[in-house]
């Protein structure tokens, strides 16, 4: 691709020069020497100039680009020797990355060799692959400090944030494999589609509900909350919406109608907030077989949560609150 302009000129001159020579011959027969000579001279000069530019672009200015291309054979980015790497404290790591192609709906695995040190994260390694070896690799990432929730993927079979996963630690298992979260629809390579995930979150109407909207938005006085009041919902407000819990949940993966752990944990977050005034209504909305009662308490969601939110626990607390509500209703 890179050499195409030069090649076009090469072919053009291969075809063009004989044509011009033929024209020169024809015109000689009719005696129009001057016109044909000027034409021939101009074309020759033009071809030489463009040819030279093309040659420079391909072989002189772009010398380092060609070196980049050759690296795409997935050899180590650094040509450092083992001794040199030992001195630097780096090692070559084999990373096998799942590549999903949306057009053909096919998945292949590609192996890369990356030089890593004790601080290298899986995200760091993937980004070095992207910038140095294969810019077509699709990854979703942003803050690289575990707070934006972009880079959820499956590393060595376990859902995790790539930016919080250390390469050397994972190397203990041998080769590192990186796959997309299969619990979400695939878009490209390691990137999954979050539309469905966001819909689940929105469906439970997160957000602080106040009976008096004018009071809520005018915000004249802070709500009266003690430290203990805040501690009740604080652990559930750490959710970064990374989608790992949904990926890990065995129920939602077999019954897509189940609202799922992330959204339900957020129901509890707002329900447990003393300032929220939606009350029992918030609970009744998820008092269904595809709501809290869909949870079979496998606990995978809480295990994979990188921020220590306990969605499984939140769902059981919601069940308890609902049972208590039924008991209260019966008393009445």
């Amino acid at each position: 691709m890179r050499a195409s302009r030069f090649m076009v000129l090469l072919y053009a001159s291969l075809i063009g020069v004989p044509i011009l020579l033929y024209l020169r011959l024809i015109s000689t027969l009719y005696g129009a020497y001057l016109v044909s000579d000027i034409l021939l001279a101009l074309s020759a000069v033009g071809l030489i100039i463009f040819g030279a530019i093309g040659f420079m672009e391909v072989y002189v200015h772009k010398a380092h680009k060609i070196a980049d291309v050759s690296m795409q054979t997935n050899e180590p980015a650094m040509s450092a020797s083992h001794a040199e790497m030992a001195r630097r404290g780096t090692k070559i790591v084999n990373i096998s990355v799942s590549r999903f192609d949306n057009e053909s709906k096919s998945m292949r695995r590609e192996a890369y060799r990356v030089e890593a040190d004790k601080n290298t994260t899986v995200l760091g390694a993937l980004l070095s692959i992207k910038s140095e070896k294969d810019p077509t690799l699709a990854i979703r990432y942003s803050c690289r400090m575990g707070i934006c929730g972009s880079c959820g993927m499956v590393v060595n079979g376990k859902p995790a944030l790539a930016c919080e996963t250390n390469v050397f630690e994972k190397m203990a298992d041998g080769e590192i494999t990186v796959e997309p979260m299969y619990g979400h629809p695939l878009l490209k390579d390691l990137v999954t589609d979050f539309d469905d995930f966001f819909e689940r979150h929105i469906s439970v109407q997160p957000g602080l509900h106040r009976a008096d909207k004018a009071e809520k938005y005018s915000a004249k006085e802070p709500y009266k909350l003690s430290r203990e009041d805040i501690d009740k919902f604080l652990p559930y407000s750490y959710c970064i919406m990374c989608g790992l819990c949904l990926d890990a949940c065995p129920v939602v993966n077999s019954n897509p109608n189940f609202v799922g752990p992330q959204a339900l944990s957020q129901v509890y977050r707002y329900h447990a907030d003393k300032a929220d005034q939606k009350g029992i209504k918030r609970l009744l909305e998820v008092d269904t077989l595809d709501g809290v009662w869909g949870c079979e308490f496998a606990g995978a969601c809480s295990k994979v949560c990188p921020k220590g939110v306990d969605p499984a626990g939140a769902i059981q607390l919601l069940k308890g609150e609902l049972m208590e509500n039924v008991a209260n209703e019966e008393k009445k």
Partner: protein
């Protein structure tokens, strides 16, 4: 091409962007159709990474504080380059915004009697920074996103990158956006636009910011011929973790952490005797760099980066758990260091860009150095230069800026749209098609320039020549290097030729923005022959109010950039020597 019509389009989904969408919605009694366009998932904008807190005088009597004192601290911190009327606007409205976010559900840290706690921050005379652990920005973002889902008038366009503003004779008509997931072009037409796309600290390699902080909105404004202000001023946060650059909040020092050099000495004694570690960021950053240059730093063998120590070991474990849990967690996860047991390796990193789109105090984007502003075009947050931070921002003033101007511009756009009818012409459609052709050409081009190599060269030049200390010759050299990078970018090669989720194309677009902005930093910086706030020039170590008490304006001209200057607005605080 899909053509979408809205009343308002908000570019950017950080605190300023989402806040403005909510206030536009509330102001119009939920009658407007608002498009919120984010190049990433809306709840993941860089605002989530804000740690330490938000400034605002909540309890003047109890804390012996006042709005005047907050204003004075901010102006002194800005090295007198802040517009004082804007600062007064900030300090007056900030306390209300803290309460507003509380009403959206932000769990502000409380004291025993249930009052919102405030902590000490750099350059602030008294504790006036409200906080939610050390994840303040994250909690504000989550509350905003959840609140937005309750407002049906706001439609969120996740992962849409805007590549061009469509403006005709100073009037906003729409934007061209690329849907990253599908790769399709979209024309979003609207009567008003809020640009809230954040800063551009990613022009530096060693930065605290997310990969998304590439300044696209500022670059869009610049390419549309709109003026930018004070581009030379880049804030370097003193304490970024080596080697990743991840932010260790100023709150650590606010809660009592010390900075120490290789001799084990608290060196801030030499540089800011009264404030010590809580001097403003420009001063602490210069102190760290000076210590390192004098050979009193440490060196990281792996990255080659020099650093000093941030020592939290004398802090109570309970205080760390309650007030600094994230930085403790990050240090353990990223470096295997428990800050309660070992000091953290830190050095200054690009953190915030004081410069940005030239706006007036109401957030209107200006057309030039005069009083005329564009019609239907506002900017808020880090991408806007109002200017409240002047040449150096005080920590925790950025979140209040985003909240205060988010509200101001949100209300203003709603009023504007209610009063002005938009009539659509073919102009916007033609421009959008032109833009689509430009993207297509970029995508199909076979020039040989690797965008990632260009970015690495840009970041190398910025970090080497436009870091904490600057020199006249090196700034001139940086200009030359970046100018070369810019011309090479016209032959950028995008290897991924497919439209679907093409991050190679997105990266190239962002890198194009960053190259333009890096060039502007170099150009504006090399003109300013004084040291003020974050701009410290070796040859001119002093502030020069006679010649330089003025804002830099830069605008794209027919041949090169036009650089001019406008006066600083001074209301009550006359410039004085800045000593801490």
């Amino acid at each position: 091409m899909q053509v979408l019509d809205f009343d308002v389009v908000v570019l950017g989904s950080g605190i300023a962007g989402m806040t403005s969408a909510i206030h536009a919605e509330l102001e119009s009694s939920e009658k407007l159709r608002i498009a919120l366009v984010s190049k990433i998932h809306a709840m993941r904008s860089h605002s989530v990474a804000a740690e330490g807190g938000i400034s605002g005088v909540l309890y003047p009597t109890e804390n012996k504080d006042s709005e005047q004192l907050h204003a004075y601290d901010t102006i002194k911190g800005s090295d007198y380059l802040a517009d004082q009327d804007a600062v007064e606007m900030l300090v007056r409205n900030a306390p209300n915004e803290i309460k507003f976010f509380e009403h959206l559900g932000v769990p502000w840290n409380r004291n025993e009697d249930g009052r919102i706690n405030e902590r000490a921050f750099g350059g602030m005379s008294v504790p006036r920074t409200a906080f939610a652990a050390d994840k303040t920005g994250f909690f504000m973002m989550r509350a905003l996103y959840d609140e937005l889902t309750l407002h049906k008038g706001v439609e969120i366009f996740h992962e849409h990158i805007v590549t061009s503003l469509i403006i005709n004779k100073g009037k906003f008509l729409g934007v061209h956006a690329l849907d990253i997931a599908t790769g399709e072009s979209k024309l979003i037409r609207a009567g008003a636009c809020v640009i809230a796309t954040g800063g551009f600290s990613r022009v530096y390699d060693f930065t605290t910011t997310s990969y998304s902080s590439t300044g696209d909105g500022i670059a869009l404004a610049y390419r549309s011929g709109l003026p930018l202000k004070d581009m030379e001023f880049v804030q370097f946060h003193p304490t970024a973790l080596v080697p990743s650059g991840i932010l260790i909040s100023e709150a650590a020092r606010g809660e009592g952490a010390h900075l120490t050099n290789a001799d084990g000495k608290r060196f801030m004694e030499t540089y800011a005797k009264s404030k010590m570690e809580l001097a403003p960021r420009d001063i602490v950053s210069r102190a760290i760099v000076t210590e390192i240059q004098k050979g009193r730093g440490f060196s990281d063998r792996l990255s080659g980066l020099d650093y000093v120590h941030l020592d939290l070991m004398h802090l109570d474990q309970k205080l760390i758990d309650e007030r600094l849990p994230m930085i403790s967690d990050i240090s353990k996860k990223m470096l295997g260091i428990d800050p309660a047991k070992e000091p953290l390796p830190v050095r200054p990193a690009a953190h915030f860009t004081m410069g940005g789109i030239h706006t007036n105090i109401h957030g209107n984007i200006m057309l030039g150095s005069g009083p005329r502003h564009a019609t239907g075009l506002w900017a808020a947050g880090e991408c806007a230069c109002v200017s409240v931070h002047g040449s150096n921002r005080l920590g925790s003033n950025s979140l209040s800026q985003c909240a205060v101007w988010g509200r101001i511009v949100g209300k203003a756009v709603a009023k504007h749209v209610a009063q002005n009818r938009t009539r659509q012409s073919n102009f916007a459609t033609d421009r959008a098609w032109e833009e689509e052709r430009r993207i297509e050409e970029m995508l199909s081009g076979d020039g040989g320039e690797d965008p990632y190599a260009l970015l690495a060269e840009l970041q190398g030049a910025m970090g080497k020549y436009l870091y904490v200390y600057r020199e006249m010759a090196s700034m001139a050299h940086a200009k030359k290097i970046i100018s070369g990078i810019r011309s090479r970018f016209s032959r950028v090669y995008i290897k991924d030729k497919k439209r679907l989720y093409n991050t190679n194309l997105r990266d190239a677009l962002e890198i194009g923005s960053m190259i333009d902005l890096g060039m502007l930093v170099a150009e504006c910086a090399s003109r300013r022959t004084e040291s003020r706030g974050a701009h410290a020039v070796r040859e001119y170590p002093d502030r020069d109010d006679k010649r330089w008490l003025k804002h830099t304006l830069v605008q794209k001209g027919m041949a090169g950039n036009r650089i001019g200057y406008i006066p600083v607005k001074i209301t009550r605080w006359k410039p004085q020597p800045r000593v801490y």
